[in-house]
Structures are given as C-alpha cells and as structure tokens.
C-alpha cells in the first residue's frame, strides 16, 4: 500500500516539490563528477579556446589604437572578459536537446505519470549539471590564469564573477529551456536553437563586451535577456565594482523571474497540446 496518505502528501506540497527538485539537482551534479573524463574534456576544450582567443585579443590590445573603445580597457582585460563569458557559455548544459528528445520521441509520457512537475525536475537536474561544469571549468581557468603569469583583476572580482556566473547559468538554462520547449510545435529544435545561440553570442557579448558596440546597439541589447547570460558577469573582470555587481545581480534575478514565467506559460501551452493530441 502507499506509504504516505494523500493528506500527508498534500501537506508536503511545495516542500515535496522542492525536495525532489533538490534531489534532481544533486543527481545532475553527481552525474557530471561520475563522468569526470567528459568534464575534463570540457575543461581542456575551454583551455584550448582560451589559448586561441587570448592570443587574438592580446594582439588587438597590443595595437591600442588611440580613439578606439578597446584602448579604454585595461591591459589584458578582453582576455579576462572572454575567459569569464566562455566559462559560462561552456557550462550551460544542453537542456534543449533533452527536452527535444523527451517531447519528440514520446519519452515525456513516463515523466507525466509522476506526481512532481516534470519541467521543475528537468531544470533542477540541468542546473546541477551546469553547476558541476562551472566548478570543473572554473578550476581549470583559475589554474591556467595562475600559471600564465597574466595579471588578474582584484580578488573581489572573482567573488562577483562567481555569484554572477551562477545567476548567468540560470538565465542561460532558462533560455535553452524555452528553445527546447519549441519541440512541442516544431519537433526539431535546431532552427530555434541556432537563433537563440547566435543571439546570445551577439547580444550577450560572448567574444567582446557589448559596451564596445555602438551606443544604440548596446542600449538595445540591454533590453534583452542575453547580457544577463554573459556580459554582466564578464564585465566584472574588466570593471569590477560592488555597485555594478549589485545592479547586475538584480538585473539577472529580474530576468530569471521573467524567463521562469515565460517558461511556465510555454510549458503549459505545450502540455495542453500533448494532453489533447497525444505525443
């Protein structure tokens, strides 16, 4: 017979959902550390990418052409900036592909037969995955920075970036969740994924701070969620301050709230479709 009465379960309510989400989160973390060769490979890829990008940006910075915005950045600042944005971009687990598989191949059905919300579980699991990657790639980045002899930002900047990085990954996971949920309507999420990915790269400032873009473009980008995914955290590596840190964190939290609402809306629309039409 069931171990907990329906009344007791109703009382568990949100706490039960949180507890199961916490378990899913822990499972995501464990899975990454269990697959440590993959995590190591990811960290190695990060180091290779950074070796190329730092050579490129160091050469640009060496020109220090007067009158350009790049010349206003601290020496080696672009490399540090890209180090942070790449760290975040490579840490975001591919929830869009998992959602696509579950929705398109009908694997959603067993999950819908469970008492806890599928999407909350899936996002929690993906956040666990992403946290483990943040940790693994972050450790590699710090070691590489120490070994390179390159001047880093003040210590406080690392703390700011760590906090903003966590929030940034949450924003990124929610953006990718929206992309994955498109599978309810388009089945294959590659087209929406490409649009989302390029938007993140361009408007989020993956390879260069969006503050270097023309003013109108910067202002436009700041109205989108993409800088909350990359730029706001990366910016702390070139212009760290407690004030911008606090504002950045608030912007990220605001976007997390907005995107969570959007994800919930899209999920419910998709779920209605599946419950009505079948998988």
């Amino acid at each position: 017979m069931p171990s907990t009465t329906p009344t007791a379960r109703a009382e568990l309510g949100a706490f039960g959902t949180l507890a199961s989400a916490a378990s899913a989160f822990a499972l995501g973390v464990r899975r990454n550390f269990a697959n440590w060769p993959v995590l190591m490979g990811r960290a190695l890829f990060y180091l290779v990418a950074m070796a190329v990008l730092s050579a490129l940006w160091d050469k640009v910075a060496a020109q220090r052409l007067s009158g350009t915005l790049a010349s206003a950045l601290p020496q080696g600042g672009l490399t540090l900036y890209v180090g942070a944005t790449e760290w975040i971009a490579l840490s975001i687990a591919a929830i869009h592909l998992r959602l696509e598989d579950d929705i398109r191949l009908g694997m959603l059905e067993p999950h819908l037969l469970r008492p806890k919300p599928y999407l909350v579980q899936k996002i929690a699991e993906t956040l666990g995955d992403s946290l483990a990657r943040l940790f693994g790639i972050g450790a590699a980045a710090l070691i590489a920075l120490a070994l390179s002899g390159r001047a880093g930002p003040p210590l406080a900047a690392f703390l700011y970036v760590a906090v903003l990085g966590l929030l940034a990954v949450t924003v990124g996971v929610l953006l990718m969740t929206l992309t994955g949920l498109a599978a309810f309507w388009v089945r294959r999420v590659l087209p929406p994924y490409l649009i989302m990915q390029k938007s993140i790269f361009l408007l989020g400032g993956l390879f260069a701070p969006i503050s270097l873009y023309p003013g109108w473009f910067y202002r436009f980008a700041m109205w989108t969620p993409f800088p909350a995914d990359l730029f706001l955290a990366g910016n702390q590596m070139i212009a760290p301050s407690a004030a911008t840190f606090a504002v950045s964190a608030m912007i990220q939290i605001l976007w997390i709230a907005i995107l969570s609402g959007l994800v919930a809306l899209v999920w419910h629309a998709g779920l209605r479709k599946v419950l009505r039409e079948g998988v």
């Binding site: 069931p2 379960r9 199961s20 916490a22 009908g106 037969l113 469970r114 008492p115 419950l275």
Partner: protein, 324 residues
C-alpha cells in the same frame, strides 16, 4: 468494488493531411481518426486484466486516458476515485506504470540513483523505501546490477529495473504497456512470474496490454479485446483460452522437401520447399510431443515455436463473436 470505471469513452485524433503542391498553402484537409470509439467497462480491485488487440486498435490510447496523460474527446472514467486527466498528479501516487518501449530510468546513471530520486518524487519515507527496494531487488536478483549505469544493462535487466521502479511507491494499480516486448523467453518468464506473484501478494490490480498471448494467459484472469476502438470481447481468460489461446505455431526447417506429421490437433498451415508450418492445438497435443515426433523423422535443421500473431487471434475472436 470497481476501482476502474469507464463509461462510453471516446478519443478522436485530428491531423492535417498535406495536399500536394501549392494547394497546401490555401486549404487544410483535416482528417479525424477514431482511436477509441465509446468503450465501457469496469475493473474490480485485485483483478488482473489484459487489454489486447492488433496494432492501432486503441489499447495504448485507452491506457493513456486511464493513467491521465491523454484527454478523451468524450465519455467518463474514474480510476481509484480520480478522474485521471483532471487529477493526474494525485492519481500518480496510487498507480505504477511500465512502458515496454519507454524507459523511466536515467540511462547514464546506476539504477540505485534513479530509485533514490523516485523516492523523493513519490514522497516515500526512507524506511519504507529501503524495505521495499530490498525486497524487490532480492526478488528480481538485481543486487549486482544496481550500481551499473542503466544504459549498460541488457533489455531484460533494464525491464526488471523498470518494474522495480514502478513499484517502489506501493501503487494500488499497475498499468503495464507491452512489458515483455523484445525480451527473450527466460526474461519474459521471470517478469510474468513476478507480476503474477507480486500483484497477488500485495493485492494490486493489474491492467496489461500485450501482443504476446502468453503474457495474457499467464498473468491475467480477464481479457478485454479491442478492435478498431471498440470492445469486441470481455470475458475470463479461461474461457478465451479454451477457445482461442491454446494454439502454437511450430515451424520446421528440414533437409527433406517437406515434413509429414499426423497427430491429433496438429494441422498444416503452409509448406514451402524445406519449410513446414504446423498449428498445434495444445489442449489436444503438447508441443513437446510434436517436436519429438518431428525429430524422430530425422533431417530437421531448425525448429521455431511461436504464438499465432495477435492479429490472427483477434480476428478469430472477432469472427467467432460475429461482432461488426
């Protein structure tokens, strides 16, 4: 007392048929398929019921509606006092579901981790969970496999884990959709034995769909036959077995051009050069007797024993009942 009650349940699927060329831009041709067409039945507590039928008959659609993951077009149903499609999550605590072709485990993780997460998902207290897990793992001989990633398990091993996963929260009702599909004979037997014994011991009600008539014969005490979305037959398995389920097909590949068997209850189905197929009525002659007789003739290169296809069984039932 009925714990599943279905009244005139119907499900229509609509889809857009694409027109060729530019016509598709200007008009949509919407087609409707009646997957389930007004079925009614009740299932009592502790009953083990098979829902069978050919592909596309409406079995899985019925199961999905009863478990709450598909809304009907019309009609009513109650499962354990819940309206499934309106109270899906509340019902989920009381039912266990196994899809033979869809895994509920996390492929890259050991089954132990999946079970632990399912404990949280179903709010099972630790002591009850550990007691239940130990019993199920021991019964299924899964001890050595618990720490292997599920993706490295064989299909039979994975299916045993799936069944354990569906029972950890102590469901009162078990839905099994093709639980033995793709398994070898030994694995099928182990799963059938387990379902029958466990459901009997725990007082669980079982609703099973399968293409394998042995699943039905060995697990269920009642059979509902569905064809084209309608119930064709609803009767005890014993009654159905006497009429339709006691047949096996024995295929003999031989060095000689053909094989002659003259045994009661054995009829020749087809003969091709070096290949003979016999239908055996097992109530009259056992399959081992037929095999021995064939081997005694000499020159047998290969023997296959299988159930008649479900489509044939259903057609026979359908014809016998004159329902159309």
């Amino acid at each position: 007392m009925a714990i599943v009650s279905v009244e005139n349940l119907r499900k229509d699927y609509r889809y857009v048929r694409r027109k060729p060329g530019l016509a598709r831009l200007f008009s949509r041709d919407i087609q409707t398929i009646q997957a389930v067409d007004g079925i009614s039945f009740q299932i009592a507590e502790r009953e083990r019921v098979a829902i069978i039928g050919p592909n596309g008959a409406g079995k899985s659609t019925t199961l999905k509606m009863l478990s709450g993951i598909l809304e009907p077009t019309s009609g009513a149903a109650q499962v354990l006092g819940f309206v499934p499609w309106k109270q899906r999550r509340a019902l989920a605590y009381r039912i266990g579901v196994v899809f033979g072709q869809r895994s509920q485990l996390w492929a890259e993780l050991p089954a132990r981790d999946s079970f632990a997460l399912l404990r949280r998902i179903y709010d099972v207290d630790r002591i009850t969970f550990e007691r239940r897990r130990s019993q199920l793992v021991e019964r299924f001989g899964l001890g050595a496999l618990l720490d292997q990633p599920v993706q490295r398990l064989s299909l039979g091993q994975r299916m045993r884990c799936e069944i354990v996963a569906s029972l950890l929260h102590g469901p009162a009702l078990l839905f099994l959709d093709e639980p033995t599909i793709g398994l070898d004979i030994t694995a099928k037997a182990a799963i059938r034995d387990f379902i029958r014994e466990h459901a009997g011991a725990e007082g669980q009600t079982v609703v099973l769909t399968s293409h394998d008539t042995r699943d039905i014969e060995l697990v269920c005490d009642r059979v509902i036959v569905i064809n084209e979305g309608r119930i064709v037959v609803d009767q005890p398995t014993d009654q159905l077995r006497r009429l339709f389920l006691g047949h096996r097909l024995v295929t003999l590949r031989s060095a000689a051009a053909g094989i002659e068997l003259s045994l009661p209850g054995v009829t020749r189905r087809t003969t091709e050069p070096h290949l003979s197929i016999f239908e055996v009525d097992t109530r009259v002659t056992r399959v081992d007797v037929v095999v021995q007789a064939a081997l005694a003739l000499g020159g047998i290169e290969d023997i296959t024993i299988e159930d008649p296809p479900m489509e044939e069984v259903v057609r026979a039932i359908y014809d016998a009942n004159g329902a159309r």
